[in-house]
Structure formats: C-alpha cells, structure tokens
C-alpha cells in the first residue's frame, strides 16, 4: 500500500477523535515538562476548548452519508454522530465543574486529572462509532481504566481509595463477563464484524436452534449492565459515587452511562433483530426482551426504593441515577419506531438536569465539607437564586410538566405504548416508581425551603460551576417548553436506520 491510497481514505470523518487525541497527548507532555510550581488551572480551559472544538467539528458532520474506514472497524453514521454529541457536551460540562472543584481540593495531579478525562472521552467516542467487537472492547476498556484512576485520584483520602479499589474489582468482573459473551458471538459466527456476526447467526439459528445465541445475548447484556448501573450490576454505584470526587461522579453518572447505552444499542441492535425468534412471527431480539424488561423493572423499583432512605446526598443521587438507567431501558425493550429518538432525548434531558443538580451539589458540599442532606437546610434564605435553580433540576428529575425530564418520560411512555406489543406492565412500573421518586426529590426541597439554616454566610459562586448551572437551567427549561425544536433537529439531520445499512 503506498502513500496515495493511504491518503485517499476519508480520514476527516475521524476529526473529532483526532482533536481529542491531540489535546490529550499534548496536555500530558506539557504537564510532564512544565515545572511543578506552575498552576495547572489553564489546562481545564484548554481541554474544555478542545472538547468544544471537537463538538463543533462533529456537528458539521451531521447529515452526512454513513461512511466506514480502517477495514470497516470505524463507522460514522447518524447513531454515532448524535450520541457522540451527547458525550462531548456532557464532558464539556464536567470539565467546567472540574475547574471549580480543583481550585479548592487536595488533588495533587491536576494535570493528569484533565487528560485522563480526555482519554476516557476518547474511549467513549470510539465506542460510539465502531462496528467491530475488538474496537468496541478497546474503547470500553480505555473508558473504564481512565475512570478507575480518576475515582482514586485523591490519593490521601481513604474513601477515594476504597472506591477505586471496589470499582476496579467490580469492573474487572464485569469486563470478564462481557468478554465471555463476546466470545460466544465470535465462536458462533467466526467474525468480529457486527454485520458478519448478524448474517452468520441468522443462518445458524434457522438450522440449529437458539440455545447458544440466547446465552450470548444474556451474558453480553449482563456484562454491559455494569456500565449502565442496572440490575444485576448496580450495587457498585452508591459506594463508588460516594467515594469519588464530585466531577468524577458526574462523569460516571452521565457520560459513562451514555457510553454504556451506546455500546448496548450498537451490539444488540446490529446483531439480534434479524435473527429468527422463538415464534415464527418475531425476531430473537423480541423473544429475549422479557429478560431485559424484568431487569429494567427491577432497576426502577430498587433504585427508587433504596433512594428513600439515604441521608448522604451523593448516595441519593447514585440511587436516582440507577433509577434513571431503568427508565432508559424501557425504549430499548419496546423497540418501537421512536426508540432512538426517545433514548437520545431522555439522555440529553438527563445531561442537563443531572449535571446541573450535581453542579449545585458541588457548591453545597464544598461549602459544608460534608455530603449530608442537612447541608441544604435553609438554602432559600441564604441564596434564593441557587435554590430556584436546584428546584428546576429536581422538578425535572422527578418529571414535573414544563421541564425536560417530563418531556423525556412522556416520549418513553408513548413509545412503549405504541410499540408492538405494547409494554403496559413496564409502563405502569415506571409510572408508580416515578411517583415514589417524588418523595426523595421533594425531601431535598423541604430542606431548602422549610428548614432553618445553620449559618447565614453568603454562598460563593465559582465560575465553572456557575456557567454549568446557567447552561443547564436554560437547557432544562427550553427542552421542557419547546421539545419540538430538539426533536425536529434530530429528524432533519439523522436517519437512524442507516445503522443497519452498509456492512
């Protein structure tokens, strides 16, 4: 192969990844050669700028034809562009919170902090645009290993060390299970390319039945449920969210979760809908959805019930994020026309409302030096503006009309009810658990409005967290009042069915 053929490939479709890669490598080398007395604050703004540049270059790709390079392992289609936008935007907000967090924390490796976030983001982006099991797995591991280090980056804190240890061990087990599932997919088809796997397995199942194919589906799903923090791999979330630094917790609960849904959709939807199911008129995907719907129902129930008893605000948000992952599995189970739209919209709403709430949490926790729920007491008397912002996020997380969370839930409901067959049981579980979730979201509001404050000092607004809160309030309200704008954008520029073409 000569240089002419090498340059004839459309490398520009990897532009966002190249920007992040260059920024991460450049920052790591600069950090190594810069004397240690120089403040690394500027790194935060440089990495935020790099993420913004990658986001802009990604948005210029919207509406382009699907394309593949690198022997069909890298693939750019509507699915990858739209979900990569969520990853980049979420990371941008997390980096903004980081700049405020690092200004007063005991983290010594401030340079590493930023380029590890960029490396994790790069892994997640590779997962979003890959059509090959090996590349998907490498992306998954890049994200996972960077997250393990970030969780334990407060070297002197026992809590942070414990969280990192638990995360690494649990993550290792989950990775082993995922790989075991992948090995079945490879063993049955003899290929790592998702399109080839789908064709081979369709041909096999017609002749030889389903036992191994169903085993492959279930084992892979169980392994991937670790990244989503859903049943059966959900119990790591509270301990690790509690122990890790707040921006890392924000990254895990939003970006890492989005990446988990991306790889789940990519692997499962590329392979199983074309395989013949147990009944003559359904696909294997629909036949095995009963397992996923049980997992989704249990996730919603466990997440919301256990959140009721939490006094630690970080643990409360961990259980709430488990519950949200349960809601997000509903469109995956329903498999309707609106599946991609409702998942994307809910994840976007979740980025706004959860990251906004966590930015407020950062201000409260650094003010009180503790994550107990009583830190919110009397917030209304101390800072009405912050209280109103937090109220908007909480109402949205609970799903009250006029907010993004309500529109997201509404879309999931409609999609699940109009699916064939309708998922009445799952929708009713979701309705009931949503009502249960009002209790713990409103108990935070009770503290903010009704309880007397412990002290009357003024709240300081660090610049990064303030920017995040402002963006998130705007996003939550705009998506709640004009949801049509985002959905229209989605329908105009993205055809999700091109995920299934071009193999």
């Amino acid at each position: 192969m000569d240089i002419g053929t090498l340059l004839s490939y459309p490398w520009e479709i990897m532009m966002p990844e190249f920007i992040i890669l260059i920024a991460a490598t450049g920052l790591s080398l600069t950090d190594l050669f810069l004397p240690s007395r120089v403040n690394r604050r500027i790194f935060g703004w440089i990495s935020a700028a790099a993420v913004l540049a990658a986001l802009i270059s990604l948005l210029t790709q919207a509406g382009s034809e699907p394309a593949q390079i690198l022997h069909n392992t890298y693939r750019l289609d509507s699915f990858s562009i739209s979900f990569k936008a969520l990853l980049l935007f979420g990371t941008l907000l997390v980096l903004l919170i980081s700049t405020s967090y690092l200004a007063r924390s005991d983290v010594e490796e401030q340079g590493e902090w930023y380029y590890l976030f960029l490396a994790a983001l790069l892994g997640a982006m590779m997962m979003a645009s890959s059509a090959d099991l090996i590349t998907l797995f490498v992306g998954l591991e890049l994200l996972a290993i960077a997250s393990y280090i970030l969780t334990g980056i407060r070297k002197k804190s026992a809590e942070s060390n414990e969280a990192a240890m638990k995360y690494a061990i649990n993550g290792g087990i989950a990775t082993a299970v995922t790989l075991f599932g992948f090995s079945y997919l490879y063993g049955l088809s003899g290929s790592t390319n998702l399109g080839d796997i789908s064709r081979e397995i369709s041909a096999l199942s017609a002749d030889h039945g389903h036992a191994l194919t169903v085993a492959a589906f279930i084992i892979t799903f169980v392994g991937l449920s670790f990244k989503l923090a859903t049943v059966p791999f959900h119990m790591w979330a509270p301990d690790i969210y509690q122990g890790s630094p707040l921006p890392v917790m924000a990254f895990l609960s939003v970006v890492s979760k989005t990446a988990g849904f991306i790889i789940l959709f990519r692997v499962m939807l590329s392979i199983f809908p074309t395989v013949q199911g147990f009944q003559p008129d359904e696909s294997l995907y629909q036949s095995v959805m009963i397992f996923v719907s049980i997992a989704a129902g249990l996730t919603m129930i466990i997440g919301n019930i256990l959140a009721l008893r939490q006094n630690n605000i970080k643990r409360l948000f961990a259980y709430s994020s488990i519950a949200h992952a349960g809601y997000l599995l509903v469109p995956f189970v329903a498999f309707s026309q609106m599946m991609f739209e409702s998942t994307w919209f809910y994840l976007l709403a979740y980025v706004f409302m959860n990251l906004g709430a966590l930015a407020v949490l950062h201000i409260i926790i650094s003010e009180n030096q503790s994550a107990h729920i009583s830190g919110f007491a009397g917030l209304y008397q101390r800072s009405p503006v912050l209280t109103v912002c937090m109220t908007i996020f909480l109402l949205s997380l609970a799903g009250i009309p006029g907010t993004a969370g309500f529109m997201g839930k509404l879309h999931i409901f409609i999609g699940a009810l109009f699916a064939d067959p309708s998922r009445y049981v799952l929708v009713s579980v979701m309705l009931v658990t949503t009502v249960v979730s009002y209790i713990y979201y409103f108990s935070i509001m009770l503290h903010m409005y009704m309880r007397p404050p412990k002290r009357y000092t003024k709240i300081t607004w660090p610049i990064g967290a303030t920017l995040t809160i402002a963006l998130c309030v705007a996003g939550t309200l705009l998506l709640g009042i004009f949801p049509g704008a985002a959905l229209q954008f989605l329908q105009e520029y993205f055809w999700f069915n091109d995920m299934f073409t071009l193999n």
Binding site: D2, S28, L32, E200, H208
Partner: protein, 123 residues
C-alpha cells in the same frame, strides 16, 4: 465455522474437567490406603529444604519491583510486535511503517511519563 464442531469442542472441555477432578482424588485416596499412619509432632513442622523456617512469610516487597516489571512487559510486547513487522517489511510497505511509527511514538510517550515521574530511579 461449522456449528457442530463448535458445540462438540465442549466435549473436550468436559473431558479435561473430569480428568482434572479425578486425578487428585484418586492419587490422594490410593495414597491414604497404602501409607502407614503414625502421627508425630516433628512431622507437622514446616519443611523448607532442610533449613529451619524463620520469621513471617508475608513480607512487603518494594513497590518499585512492580513498576520495573510493568515497564519491562510493555517493552517486551513492543519487541514481539516489532520483530514480525521487521521480517515482513518488504511486503507490508509504507502503511505498516506509519502504523508502527504511531505505535512506537505512543510507547515513547509512556516511557517519557515513567522517566519524568521518577519510576526509573531506584532510591
């Protein structure tokens, strides 16, 4: 790939699993039948190549051993990748050269990281 070949390979797994279980069970049971049984306090002391055992077996190793081992493994793997590439260089051409350069540069950054973080000094 033939489906039956794939499924039948599990017969070998089962056979080896059975063999692995049976071998120690048989050896220990037959040994129990054959050997004389005369317990004695001297017999239950630790046997360490004839030397009297001293202090605790659980000692802390210097963490630098792990660092060195890790670095060694990385560069060992690099050699393993470089060797077949160097042998087949004429057929692979420019694309492989660029790929290999990317690979070496990535590892070089890792080495610089280890060097600046003082992993290469012992004290």
């Amino acid at each position: 790939m033939d489906f039956f070949v794939y499924q039948n390979s599990y017969v070998f797994v089962a056979a080896f699993l059975l063999l692995g279980l049976l071998l120690p069970i048989t050896a220990l049971t037959v040994g129990r039948w054959l050997r004389p049984h005369h317990p004695d306090p001297l017999k239950s002391t630790t046997y360490e190549s004839g030397i009297e055992p001293f202090h605790d077996a659980r000692v802390q190793f210097n963490v630098r051993y792990y660092m060195f081992a890790l670095l060694f493994v990385i560069f060992d793997v690099e050699t393993v990748f470089l060797y077949p590439w160097a042998v087949a260089y004429d057929e692979l051409g420019l694309f492989a050269l660029v790929e290999m350069l990317i690979f070496v540069v990535m590892l070089l950054i890792g080495l610089i990281y280890a060097w600046k973080k003082k992993v290469l000094t012992w004290t």
